[in-house]
C-alpha cells in the first residue's frame, strides 16, 4: 500500500512540473535558511560546554558604585582569589587569569601574540584541557614555564614535540616550554595560545593587595551540592568586613561580587572589559524567530498551493472512495505525498546549505558544518522533515481527503451548499495565510529600513570630534623616551598635522578611577572616567574648547592640570569650573584649566558621560596622528620609516580611528545586513506562493473572464479585477504588521541612547515595496488571462 502511495506521489510530482517546482523551491529556500540559522544557533548555545566540570564553574563579576560612576565588570581585584580560596569551604578551586598580549621573537622579528594568557596552576583543575605532553600538575609552577597549544608549537617550532625548547619575549625574557596542550574549541568564551604563570605578570604582583583595581578574571569551581547564591551572600558579608578597612568612602558607594555561571558568560553577559567576544541571547532569540517565520512562510506556500489545486485531485479522491478507500487511508496517502515533497525540498535545501555555508562562515567568523556522520544531526534532520511535512502537509491532506465521492459521478465539482461553504472557508484561510506571509515580509522590511536608517544616523551624526583621517599607532610606550623623538620627526612630515600621545581614544576602552574634587564634593572620592592626554589631543580630534584654554608647554604647571568635559563640570556641580582643584592617585593635585564641549567618546549606545583629561603622566599607549589631505599611503609609509628607525625590532601596528570607532556598531551592522537578506528571502518565498495562488485563482475564473470580455471588458479592466484581490491582502498585511513592527523595532532601538524616530514613511515604503512586488508577481498571470481569447474559455459550456 505504501509503495502505491509513493508511486503516485512521484508520478504527480513529475507530471505537475511547474507546481512541483514552485512548492519545492519555496520549501527548499525556507528550509535552507532554517538549517543555516539552526546551525548558527546550535553553535552559539554550545559555548563552554566542553568543560567537564562546567556546571560548577562560575565567574566573579564586580558590581560597584562610587559617586556617579557605576560599573559591572568581569574583571576583579587580585586579592579576591585568595579571599575566596581561604575562607569558603564550598569553594573547591579558584583560578585567576589575565590575558596580556606580548611580543614574541620569531625568526628574527617580533610577533604580537594576543592569545598570551597568564594563569594560575589551578587553571587545569578548573578547566578541561587536553595535554599532549608535559604534566598538568607542574606545567605552570616554575616562573619561566610556558604552555603552548599545538597550533602555537607548530607555528614556532614546526613540530608538536616542543617540550623543553624555549621562546623569547621582546623584553628579553626566555620561557621554557613545559607542556603542549590542545587549544580550546572555537566555542569558548576566551581562547589562549600561550599560558604563563600569573605571578610573573608585573601588573598582578603590584596589585597583590589592592582591592580597588580591576585586574584579573576570577573563576571559582564550586564543590558538588553547594549553592552559589549562598556563597554570594556569605562572601558579601565577609567582604563588608574588608571594606570597612578602608575602600569606598561615600555613604552611597557600594561594592558587591556576583558569580555568573560559566554557561551564561558567552550569551548572557555583556559587560565592558569582556575577556573575549560575546554573543547575545537577544540575537539568538531574534534569529530563532526569523528562522521559524521563514520556515512557516515556506510551509504556508505549500499549504496554499496544495489546497488551491486540490480540485484537480478531487476526481482521484472520488474514485478512490468509490472503490473502497476510507478517510484514514486517503489521509495517509496525501500526507505521504507531502513527505515526498518535503524530502525533495530537503535535498535541495541541504545542497543550498552546503553552497552558502562558506559565506555564512566568513560572515560570522565561525566554522559551521552539516555533519552527516553525527547520528544526532541525522535524527534532527529526519525530525525536521517530519515536522515540516506535518505542518505543511496535514491540512491539505485533511482538505483533499474530505472530498465527497458524489462529485466524481457528475464529472465536476458539484455546487451544493456544503461544498460552497467549504470552498469559502478554505479561501478565507488561504487569504489569512497570505496576509500572515506578507506581515512577516513587511515586518522584516521595515526592520531593514529602520536599522539602515539608524546606522546611517549613527555614521553621520556629528560626534563632536573629527574621526576621519586620524592614524592610530599602537605601542607608544614601547619607544620609551624615544617617543618624543617620534612625535618630532613624524610632525616634520608635510602630510602630518599634529601627533598626540594618549592613553586611550574614542572607540577604545575607557578606564575610571577615584578623583577627589574640591567643593562642593569636599574632596570625597568620586569615581570618574578619565583619559590622560597631551597638549595635541584637542587639535588632533578637533575638539572645541568652550571655556578656558588647552594644555600648553608654555605653562610648566600644566603637567598636573586637567581638562574636563561639560558633563563633568555639571556632574561635579561646578558652575565656574576654571581653577577648581582635583586630586588623584594620592599625590597628584592640579587645577582645571579648560572645559571641552561634550563629544561622543563612547558609542551612541550610551549617553555622554562626565570625563576628566589629566595631562599625561603615565606611559602612553597610542600615538594619534592627524593626517593632512593628500597621499595618505605615502605619508603612512614615511611615518612607518620613522618608527622602524627608532624601534627596528617592533612591528609597526596601526589602524584608523574612524574604522576603530565604527567597529562599535559591528553587531548592529551585521544585524542590518541579515535583516535585509532575510527580508529579501521572505519576500521571495511569499511571492513564489502568490504566483502559484494567482495561477490557480485565475484558472478558476477563466469562465468569468471570458464572459466579461465578451461583454466588453478591456485588458486593463481584467488585470485590475484580478490584481485587486491580491493587492487587498497586502494592504491588510500592512495594517496588521505596522503596530507589531513598530513595537518590536522600538524595543530594538532602545539599545541606542541616540536613535532615529520610526516615521510613518517607513511603513509606507515597506508596504509599497511589498505591494509592488506582489502585483508584479500576479500581473504575469493576470496579463496572460486578460489577453486570452474568450471563445476558448467559453467553449466548454
Amino acid at each position: 500500500m505504501l509503495i502505491t502511495y509513493l508511486k503516485v506521489a512521484f508520478r504527480t510530482l513529475i507530471r505537475k512540473k511547474g507546481y512541483s517546482l514552485l512548492t519545492i523551491a519555496g520549501l527548499a529556500v525556507g528550509s535552507a535558511v532554517f538549517l543555516l540559522i539552526a546551525l548558527w544557533i546550535s553553535d552559539e548555545i554550545s559555548y563552554d560546554r566542553f568543560h567537564d566540570k562546567g556546571d560548577r564553574i562560575y565567574r566573579a563579576v564586580w558590581e560597584g558604585k562610587v559617586g556617579d560612576n557605576e560599573w559591572k565588570i568581569p574583571l576583579g581585584p587580585v586579592p579576591l582569589g585568595e579571599a575566596l580560596r581561604e575562607g569558603f569551604p564550598e569553594v573547591e578551586e579558584v583560578v585567576r587569569i589575565r590575558p596580556w598580549s606580548r611580543l614574541v621573537r620569531h625568526q628574527g622579528s617580533l610577533i604580537r601574540e594576543e592569545g598570551f594568557v597568564y594563569a594560575e596552576p589551578s587553571f587545569f583543575r578548573v578547566f578541561t584541557v587536553e595535554f599532549l605532553s608535559g604534566d598538568a600538575a607542574t606545567a605552570l609552577n616554575a616562573p619561566d614555564n610556558v604552555v603552548l597549544t599545538t597550533t602555537t608549537a607548530l607555528k614556532y617550532f614546526g613540530t608538536q614535540h616542543a617540550v623543553g625548547r624555549s621562546i623569547q619575549l621582546s623584553d628579553g625574557t626566555t620561557l621554557r616550554v613545559a607542556a603542549i596542550v590542545k587549544p580550546f574549541p572555537p566555542q569558548s568564551h576566551f581562547r589562549f595560545d600561550f599560558l604563563a604563570p600569573l605571578e610573573t605578570l608585573p601588573l598582578v604582583r603590584d596589585r597583590r593587595a589592592q582591592w580597588g583595581s580591576a585586574t584579573v578574571y576570577t573563576y571559582v569551581l564550586m564543590k558538588r551540592g553547594t549553592s552559589i547564591t549562598a556563597l554570594e551572600e556569605k562572601f558579601h558579608k565577609h567582604f563588608q568586613g574588608i571594606q570597612r578597612q578602608g575602600i569606598g568612602g561615600g555613604s552611597t558607594d557600594y561594592f558587591r561580587f556576583r558569580f555568573d555561571p560559566l554557561y551564561d558568560i558567552y550569551l548572557r553577559s555583556n559587560y565592558a572589559y569582556e575577556i573575549g567576544q560575546t554573543g547575545s541571547i537577544d540575537t539568538v532569540y531574534l534569529m530563532s524567530a526569523v528562522a521559524v517565520f521563514i520556515l512557516l512562510l515556506a510551509c504556508i506556500n505549500f499549504m496554499n498551493l496544495t489546497t488551491a489545486r486540490a480540485n484537480e485531485r478531487a476526481r482521484e479522491v472520488g474514485v478512490r472512495k468509490v472503490v473502497g478507500a476510507d478517510r484514514t487511508q486517503l489521509l495517509t496517502q496525501f500526507f505521504l505525498e507531502s513527505v515526498v515533497y518535503v524530502c525533495c525540498a530537503m535535498v535541495f535545501a541541504m545542497a543550498l546549505t552546503e553552497i552558502t555555508l562558506p559565506n555564512l562562515n566568513a560572515f560570522t567568523a565561525k566554522q559551521l558544518s552539516l555533519e552527516y556522520s553525527n547520528p544526532f544531526v541525522l535524527v534532527l534532520l529526519c525530525g525536521f522533515v517530519l515536522i515540516t511535512a506535518f505542518v505543511a502537509g496535514l491540512y491539505p491532506a485533511l482538505v483533499i481527503s474530505s472530498f465527497s465521492p458524489v462529485s466524481v459521478l457528475k464529472g465536476r465539482l458539484t455546487s451544493n451548499s456544503s461544498r460552497l461553504a467549504g470552498l469559502s472557508i478554505r479561501s478565507v484561510l488561504r487569504s489569512t495565510l497570505v496576509v500572515f506571509q506578507f506581515c512577516v515580509c513587511i515586518a522584516l522590511m521595515t526592520g531593514t529600513i529602520v536599522l539602515q536608517h539608524q546606522m546611517q544616523y549613527v555614521m553621520e551624526k556629528n560626534l563632536g570630534f573629527d574621526r576621519s583621517s586620524v592614524l592610530v599607532v599602537r605601542g607608544a610606550g614601547a619607544l620609551g623616551e624615544k617617543r618624543r623623538v617620534f612625535v618630532r620627526e613624524a610632525e616634520m612630515n608635510p602630510g602630518v598635522g599634529a601627533v598626540s600621545m594618549v592613553q586611550t581614544l574614542p572607540g577604545y576602552d575607557f578606564d575610571s578611577m577615584g578623583f577627589e574634587p574640591e567643593q562642593p564634593a569636599n574632596y570625597r572620592i568620586t569615581s570618574l572616567t578619565y583619559a590622560m592626554v597631551d597638549e595635541k589631543f584637542v587639535d588632533v580630534l578637533g575638539l572645541k574648547i568652550v571655556e578656558g584654554r588647552n594644555f600648553s608647554t608654555d605653562h610648566p604647571t600644566d603637567s598636573s592640570a586637567f581638562l574636563i568635559n561639560r558633563s563633568a563640570a555639571h556632574a561635579l556641580g561646578w558652575k565656574h569650573p576654571l581653577g577648581k582643584r582635583l586630586r588623584y592617585g594620592g599625590n597628584v593635585e592640579g587645577r582645571v584649566i579648560g572645559v571641552v564641549d561634550d563629544f561622543h567618546f563612547q558609542s551612541l549606545h550610551s549617553e555622554i558621560k562626565p570625563i576628566v583629561f589629566p595631562f599625561i603622566r603615565w606611559v602612553p599607549q597610542y600615538f594619534a596622528i592627524r593626517l593632512k589631505p593628500g597621499d595618505k599611503t605615502e605619508t603612512i609609509k614615511q611615518v612607518k620609516a620613522v618608527w622602524e628607525k627608532l624601534a627596528p625590532e617592533r612591528p609597526f601596528e596601526y589602524s584608523f580611528l574612524d574604522q576603530d570607532y565604527e567597529r562599535l556598531y559591528q553587531s548592529e551592522r551585521r544585524l542590518t545586513q541579515l535583516f535585509g537578506l532575510f527580508a529579501g528571502l521572505a519576500l521571495f518565498i511569499a511571492c513564489l506562493g502568490l504566483f502559484g495562488l494567482a495561477t490557480y485563482s485565475i484558472q478558476q475564473r477563466t469562465k468569468e473572464i471570458g464572459i466579461r470580455k465578451v461583454l466588453g471588458a478591456s485588458v486593463i479592466n481584467i488585470m485590475g479585477l484580478l490584481s485587486k484581490e491580491f493587492a487587498r491582502l497586502v494592504v491588510v498585511a500592512l495594517i496588521v504588521a505596522t503596530p507589531l513592527a513598530y513595537y518590536g523595532l522600538n524595543r530594538l532601538l532602545q539599545n541606542f541612547a541616540y536613535r532615529v524616530d520610526i516615521g510613518w514613511w517607513v511603513f509606507l515604503v515597506a508596504g509599497g515595496a511589498a505591494l509592488l512586488v506582489a502585483l508584479a508577481t500576479v500581473s504575469f498571470q493576470a496579463i496572460k488571462a486578460a489577453l486570452a481569447n474568450p471563445v476558448e474559455a467559453l467553449r466548454y459550456e
Partner: protein, 229 residues
C-alpha cells in the same frame, strides 16, 4: 437485494431547495438487470448515488442486503460498499497517475488483499476484459473502449454482488458500446445484480426491467417480458 421506502433526497444551495428524489419506492431482486431511464435532471444519478451508498437520503429508508443503511456513517457505508458494490461511470474515472494494472488492483488494495493474490486476480480480470496486453499502460494511452473495459475490470475485481453503471456507454461509439453491454450481460448471467442508468432505450433493452423516473418520482416500471409479449 435492494428496497427503498419513501426515499427522498433534497439539495440545498444557498436558499434554493432542489428535490432530486421525492418518495421513491423500488425493489430489486438478486440477479436482476435493471435499467433506470428518464430525462436530464430527473434524479437518475442521485438515485444511483444513494443506492451505491455514496450519498445519503434526506428522508426514507433504504434496505441493502436486508440492512437498513440510510443512517449509516461514512465509514460503515465505505465498508459495505467496498465489499459489495462495483461502479462503472460514463467518464470511466480511471486515475491518470496509475497504470491499467494499478487501477484495477485498487479495490483489492483497499480490501487488504495480499499482493500475490492481487496479481492473480487482476490478471484474470484483465484477461476476461481482453486488455491484459495493456496492463502497464496509463489510461491516456488507451482508447475510450479500452478505458471502459479497464473500468469494468475494476468494478468486478472484488467480486461485488451489485454493479452500478452510470451511462456506461455514453462516451463510447456504438461498436465499443455494444461490447461493454455484452460484458455487463455476461456478468449478469453469471449472477451479478446490475443497475444501469441510461438515456438510450436500445441499451435499456439489455435489462430485464426498466424504471422510469420523472422529476424525482418513479412513473412506470416495465417488466420487459410483459412489454414484449
Amino acid at each position: 437485494m435492494i428496497e427503498t421506502r419513501n426515499l427522498k433526497r433534497v439539495y440545498t444551495t444557498g436558499e434554493v431547495e432542489t428535490t432530486a428524489l421525492a418518495s421513491v419506492n423500488i425493489k430489486i431482486q438478486v440477479g436482476e438487470f435493471v435499467a433506470v431511464m428518464g430525462p436530464s435532471g430527473c434524479g437518475k444519478s442521485t438515485l444511483l448515488n444513494v443506492l451505491g451508498l455514496l450519498d445519503q437520503p434526506t428522508e426514507g429508508e433504504y434496505y441493502f442486503l436486508g440492512q437498513e443503511v440510510s443512517k449509516y456513517s461514512e465509514r460503515q457505508r465505505a465498508q459495505l460498499r467496498k465489499a459489495n458494490i462495483g461502479f462503472v461511470f460514463q467518464s470511466f474515472n480511471l486515475i491518470d497517475e496509475l497504470t491499467v494494472f494499478e487501477n484495477v488492483e485498487l479495490p483489492l488494495v483497499y480490501l487488504g488483499i495480499s499482493s500475490s493474490e492481487r496479481e492473480k486476480r487482476v490478471k484474470n480480470a484483465l484477461e476476461q476484459m481482453h486488455i491484459v496486453h495493456r496492463a502497464d499502460h496509463f489510461p491516456q494511452q488507451l482508447s475510450g473502449g479500452q478505458q471502459q473495459r479497464v473500468a469494468v475490470a475494476r468494478a468486478i475485481i472484488a467480486n461485488p454482488q451489485l454493479i452500478l453503471a452510470d451511462e456506461p456507454t455514453g462516451n463510447l461509439d456504438s461498436a465499443n458500446g455494444q461490447e461493454v453491454m455484452k460484458l455487463l450481460t455476461n456478468l449478469n448471467e453469471a449472477g451479478t445484480t446490475i443497475v444501469m442508468v441510461t438515456h438510450s432505450s436500445e441499451q435499456a433493452n439489455y435489462a430485464h426491467r426498466i424504471i422510469h423516473l420523472f422529476d424525482g418520482h418513479v412513473v412506470t416500471e416495465n417488466i420487459k417480458e410483459q412489454l414484449y409479449t
